[in-house]
């Protein structure tokens, strides 16, 4: 080889290895900075907790999975875990599905029935949300559940497609694990239609997890297209004509809403709206009538679907709502269809004839201030939110059934011009309940019949703490439920209430759910007495004009008068019983009422004083904390809120072109709510003191124990800033108190979003090893939130929380960002599948039971989003404006119920949910994360919240100081890890552009006394939440983190090593080859 060529070779090799060395080093840095997230997605473990199990400091003894999920040697039994999940999902859907119509003895079907399934969603089922509450992994399809008795997980893996054109993907790559036997419905299914839909699925592609869409197309083939596949398909109907089941689906997911009129062209939606049926869907139902005399329609949705025409169609015999049932929930559907289980669910939302008739729909979607560009200077942040979005929630407290039932009551009573056609969609001449509503909130049928009667007088327990003034007011209703039918069944026992309304006074719903329980399985002819405890603070009303006499306004008041309580099959039934008891004109009522199912209690100042509930359960004086929630607070008179004293005159108009004129309002919107101090004297605030306490000693230490103060004083200011700044999933270590960096948090509301083989705690005795054939099982398998709500079973809700807690032990996650706890303000919120209901008590009980159940296994549930995340459209920057009454009684009540968790309080223990995630949205003009009224006054002072309060992902990172000031305890900084090295306060890209005009640093609050004290409090809350979780299983005095070699770490280490060696060698050879004769020729 010529000398010049050798030189070139060595020089080239030197350059090539310089390239690989440089890239390996810089990309290795990137990998290490995101190690936690990479581990989750790749199933690797780059850093592990190491603790030595000693007699003095035993590990894994604080929270353990139940014995039936473990092998005899204490190792995890994946088969048992999956079996238990299958069983729970089955029961969840079996009890949460709602039978809305059942005529002509349509259901149940006999075993061995020959059934035709119609509608493409009967073949391509909707199981979950493509983003949010996704059904992950292998599943049991409807066809399998109805006709088979063994899973085929290897060939039935759920897929998901994202919104906005994201590519579809299988939720897991393959399944080589166990298959499971189950008892299916035992039907024989029409194979011709199955084959046709399989073929049509090449054109009408559907996935088990799908999103909503702003221009929606349900993707249902036409009858002609069916015939195009097989022209003689109708010949199969004769053989499979025992029943025809049509499945209609409407998906739900994060990020995108349905919009008014948002329908794909040419599909002839019945009401021109996305939640009404298309022509092809209606034709599928007509086809069902040809296939069988018995037509059953299944609705798979997370919101009200407009099925009024089906209700009134005499040829549609049965309607069953099944939510998005999760991976195994079709077994529950099969149980219902076959009669193995009598349905017992109640609707989570009112189903209206026209969803657009809801007053909330008059202000829904994307609305922007007219002068955003001129006055809004705050940008959309790292997430690129659109500034200037808002929505006026002019419907006041009349959300969902509260509107329809109250207007109905007033219509019968002849008050408030309730029958005026303003706001009516079913008629141009009058507002009539039957025209507007299809099925009531809480309504559901069974295969048997029940009677409900109050067993004796309710017991009232009323007291006030003499020291604090904190009220305690409960009424226990004992309801005797008798099964007067022929089939065993369960039924919800729903207690509703009505407070006396004074026209022109504070708004009150004519009916509201106060609490519920569920019976056990009652045999025909048998009875059960169910006790339902009602917290009477929830029948009080928030009057924001009430003068407290101390310079403040706003209080919960109990107007003296006649209060009514009733038990009914849903809100409408319960209201009718009250109306019957009040002697209202039965001829004007929709349905009948039974006065015996209502109870009247006259309440006066001696029994419960007007202002008894003006003090919270913590003894804190209540007053207005969210005045800026109301648009009129800054720009008076511009918005009219709905009042039942004048339905027609105040029915909401659409406020889609408001202009910002008030200076303070503009300042709030620009995030200028906190002024950072730089020269306070902070010398008396203790940091870095050596008190010799370690984190592992804090298990079981009460939140207000002084030992916490001593522990917190040990931390340095910088360490505390790390804990506040980086709130998960990876949390920084704190050397001074002996904690280590840990990936400890994940989503979601329907199971923990970490596969078994990606557990963050591989050293747990029960950790499923990678060699286990079931190791890639994904725990996110349960149904969407409305199903859980519709069970109306606190016991089942608790069990769902417990099981998620068990999952968290197997996956090493000790804090859960879930479940979803926002309100179904209307049916068009694309994310309704992640939230329980339009009713705060139903939602709050579901969340409370889940959270307390989860804590049994050391999982801290942090439901989201606190608060007012009422739509996905412009969710990031949107300002929802509302009255404070609306905020408290509707939006916040669900959280209040779960945080107070009075049901689980004991003499020595104040139970409660120990976590939350704040909302992207604002409340009025103030970010929820920075609202002291919300995060401190209401959440902490009124409700006594102690726990982890994290922002939504990367939210309001520019308002670091205001977020800390308000009482939020940390930021969601998903992806950030390698703290103190690759990720620091200064280097994190998230915190470089703070509103103060500079980036974050360890010295940022050196001169701000208030923030230093708030920081201590925030860190106290965070670490307390860790201390009640199963993170404590892994901690003792020997705890440390050790790096482990993963394949990706090995790859870049190897690349660096090999590149460096070869580069040096090549460079040496290049230099050697450069000596000698000069280059001579070409």
């Amino acid at each position: 080889m010529k000398k010049s060529n050798r030189k070139g070779l060595w020089r080239g090799l030197t350059s090539a290895t310089c390239f690989t060395l440089s890239l390996s080093m810089v990309l290795g840095n990137v990998l290490e900075a995101n190690a936690g997230t990479i581990d989750t997605y790749l199933g690797t473990t780059s850093e592990v907790f190491v603790s030595e199990n000693t007699t003095d400091n035993p590990l894994y003894n604080k929270f353990t999975p139940p014995a039936e999920l473990l092998n005899a040697d204490g190792t995890g039994n994946s088969n048992a875990l999956i079996s238990a999940a299958i069983d729970l999902n089955r029961r969840e859907v079996g009890e949460g599905s709602v039978l809305l119509k059942n005529e002509n003895n349509a259901l149940p079907l006999d075993s061995g029935s020959n059934v035709t399934l119609l509608g493409i969603r009967s073949h391509s089922n909707l199981l979950g949300s493509s983003f949010g509450v996704k059904a992950q992994g292998p599943y049991i399809s409807l066809e399998q559940a109805l006709s088979q008795n063994r899973t085929d997980f290897a060939n039935t893996i759920a897929w998901s497609v994202g919104s906005r054109g994201a590519a579809p993907a299988a939720t897991i790559s393959e399944w080589k694990g166990d298959e499971f036997d189950f008892e299916g419905a035992g039907f024989n299914l029409n194979p011709t239609m199955i084959d046709i839909y399989e073929k049509l699925g090449e054109t009408y592609i559907h996935y088990e997890n799908e999103p909503a869409a702003e221009v929606y197309n349900p993707g249902e083939p036409s009858v002609d297209e069916i015939a195009g596949v097989n022209a003689s398909y109708k010949d199969s109907f004769a053989q499979y004509g025992d029943a025809a089941i049509v499945v209609i689906a409407r998906p739900s997911c994060e990020q995108v809403d349905y919009l008014p009129g948002g329908v794909a062209e040419g599909l002839d939606f019945e009401n021109g709206e996305p939640l009404s049926l298309t022509k092809n869907e209606r034709d599928a139902i007509e086809l069902a009538k040809e296939a069988s005399d018995k037509v059953i329609v299944i609705i798979s949705s997370s919101a009200s679907v407009e099925i009024g025409s089906l209700k009134n169609d005499p040829d549609v015999d049965a309607i069953l709502w099944i939510g998005a049932p999760g991976c195994y929930g079709m077994l529950g559907v099969a149980d219902i269809l076959s009669g193995r289980v009598s349905p017992s669910g109640g609707l989570f939302d009112i189903f209206t004839a026209y969803n657009m008739s809801a007053p909330a729909m008059q202000n829904m979607g994307k609305m922007y201030y007219t002068n955003t560009e001129e006055v809004i200077t705050r940008s959309g942040g790292v997430l690129g939110f659109t500034p200037g979005a808002y929505t006026i929630e002019a419907e006041s407290i009349y959300v969902g059934y509260r509107y329809y039932e109250t207007r109905y009551y007033d219509a019968v009573a002849g008050k408030g011009n309730a029958t005026d056609p303003t706001g009516a969609y079913g008629s141009t001449t009058e507002w009539n309940y039957d025209n507007e509503v299809t099925y009531s909130f809480g309504y559901g049928l069974s295969y048997t019949d029940f009677t409900y009667e109050f067993a004796g007088e309710p017991q009232f327990n009323i007291s006030v703490d003499s020291e604090t003034g904190a009220p305690s007011a409960f009424a226990t209703f004992n309801v005797k439920v008798t099964n007067v039918g022929n089939v065993a069944g369960k039924t919800p026992v729903q207690i509703y209430g009505q407070a006396p309304y004074i026209a022109g006074g504070v708004e009150k719903s004519a009916i509201q759910l106060l609490n519920f329980e569920k019976t056990g399985l009652i045999e025909p002819g048998q009875s059960e007495v169910v006790s339902v405890v009602v917290d009477l603070q929830y029948i009080a009303s928030y009057d924001e004009t009430y003068d407290n006499g101390d310079g403040t306004n706003g209080a919960y008041i109990m107007d003296p008068g006649s209060y009514y309580f009733s038990v009914g099959n849903g809100a409408h039934d319960a209201l009718n019983h009250i109306m019957a008891a009040q002697g209202m004109d039965a001829s004007k009522m929709s349905g009948t009422g039974n006065a015996d199912q209502a109870y009247k209690k006259d309440i006066n100042e001696d029994f419960i004083s007007l202002t008894m509930f003006s003090v919270s359960k913590t003894g804190y004086k209540i007053s207005n904390q969210l005045p800026y929630a109301d648009w009129n607070y800054y720009q008076p008179g511009e918005v009219t809120y709905l009042t039942r004293s004048d339905w027609a005159g105040t029915f909401p108009k659409t406020y889609d072109a408001l202009t910002l004129t008030n200076e303070q309002l503009i300042k709030n919107l620009n995030g200028q709510t906190y002024e950072l101090k730089t020269d306070d004297d902070t010398s008396d605030i203790l940091w870095g003191v050596d008190n010799g306490i370690k984190f592992h000693e804090m298990f079981g230490v009460a939140y207000d124990d002084p030992k916490w103060d001593k522990l917190l004083d040990q931390m340095t200011l910088e360490e505390a800033m790390y804990i506040f700044t980086f709130g998960g999933p990876s949390i920084p270590g704190v050397e001074s108190i002996g904690t280590v960096e840990t990936y400890m948090i994940e989503n979601a509301g329907n199971g923990v979003a970490v596969s078994l083989n990606a557990t963050k705690d591989p050293d747990a005795p029960w950790a499923i090893p990678a060699t286990d054939p079931n190791s890639n099982w994904h725990p996110e398998v349960f149904a969407n939130a409305p199903i859980g709500a519709s069970t109306f079973s606190p016991e089942l809700m608790y069990e769902l929380g417990e099981f998620t807690g068990i999952e968290s032990l197997f996956t090493g996650i000790n804090i859960l960002w879930g479940p979803g706890l926002n309100t179904h303000r209307h049916a068009y919120n694309g994310r309704n599948g992640e939230y329980y209901s339009e009713d705060p008590v139903l939602s709050g009980v579901a969340a409370m039971e889940f959270a307390i159940g989860a804590l049994d296994y050391g999982l801290v549930a942090a439901p989201k989003h606190f608060a007012f995340n009422d739509q996905e459209s412009e969710r990031g920057g949107v300002s929802p404006y509302m009255t404070e009454q609306r905020a408290r009684e509707i939006e916040l009540r669900a959280y209040q119920l779960a945080f107070e968790a009075t049901k689980y309080d004991t003499e020595d223990y104040d139970a409660g949910m120990r976590g939350l995630m704040t909302s992207f949205s604002k409340i009025g003009s103030i970010e929820c994360t920075t609202s002291e009224g919300l995060m401190t006054e209401i959440l902490i002072n009124e409700w006594g919240f102690i726990g982890y309060a994290v922002t939504d992902i990367y939210d309001d990172v520019d308002l670091w100081s205001a977020v800390l000031n308000a009482g939020t305890t940390c930021f969601d900084t998903r992806g950030q890890s390698g703290f103190y090295s690759t990720t620091t306060l200064e280097s994190s890209s998230l915190f470089r552009n703070l509103i103060e005009g500079k980036g974050l640093s360890a010295n940022f609050i050196d001169g701000d006394r208030n923030l230093q004290l708030k920081l201590k409090d925030a860190v106290h809350k965070n670490i307390y939440a860790w201390s009640v979780s199963h993170l404590m299983n892994r901690y003792n005095s020997t705890t440390r983190v050790e790096s482990r070699m993963t394949w990706w770490r090995g790859a870049y280490y190897g690349a660096i090593g090999v590149s460096a060696v070869v580069m040096v060698a090549s460079a040496a050879m290049y230099i050697l080859s450069s000596k000698g004769k000069k280059e001579e020729e070409v």
């Binding site: 350059s15 939110f385 990367y954 001579e1080």
Partner: protein, 148 residues
């Protein structure tokens, strides 16, 4: 007397300089597209990129005066690769959270997608520039003709 004609290596080094410059330009464009997603050390990154471009130019020019595979060109290429890699890696590291969001929960971030597009162009330019520099190291930059 020997005279030198430019060979492919010369042009490759020059191309690498142009690509590197493009990488710097698109990095700056991405940085400026969204102030909330500005790179934390943009001045340092620009400096690194510019020096990298200059070194690529030096590598190209030195070959004319000093001949093929001369030490100045060799070291300049190494320096240029290292600086391009630093620019690339540093901006990738700061874009990970943005990109992860764009492909999941934050798909509607219009400004973010613009930053992403600019960044992708910048990264492609830088990677190709580095590969081109590697190739240029193997081949001759000048053809030496000997005359009587």
């Amino acid at each position: 007397m020997n005279t030198k004609k430019r060979a492919i290596g010369f042009y490759l080094s020059a191309l690498a300089a142009v690509l590197g410059a493009a990488g710097v330009v698109f990095t700056v464009l991405g940085n400026n597209a969204s102030p909330d997603n500005a790179l934390g050390n943009i001045s340092t990154l620009i400096l690194a990129g510019v020096v990298g471009v200059l070194l690529a130019v030096v590598a190209s020019a030195a070959s004319v005066s000093l001949g093929n595979h001369n030490i100045v060109s060799a070291v300049s290429v190494l320096g240029s690769i290292a600086l391009y890699a630093y620019l690339f890696g540093s901006s990738v590291g700061q874009r990970v959270t943005l990109i992860a969001g764009l492909f999941s929960f934050n798909a509607g971030n219009v400004a973010g997608w613009q930053v992403f597009r600019m960044s992708i162009v910048a990264w492609v330019c830088l990677i190709v520039a580095m590969v081109v520099l590697v190739v240029s190291s193997f081949v001759k930059s000048v053809k030496v003709a000997q005359s009587a």
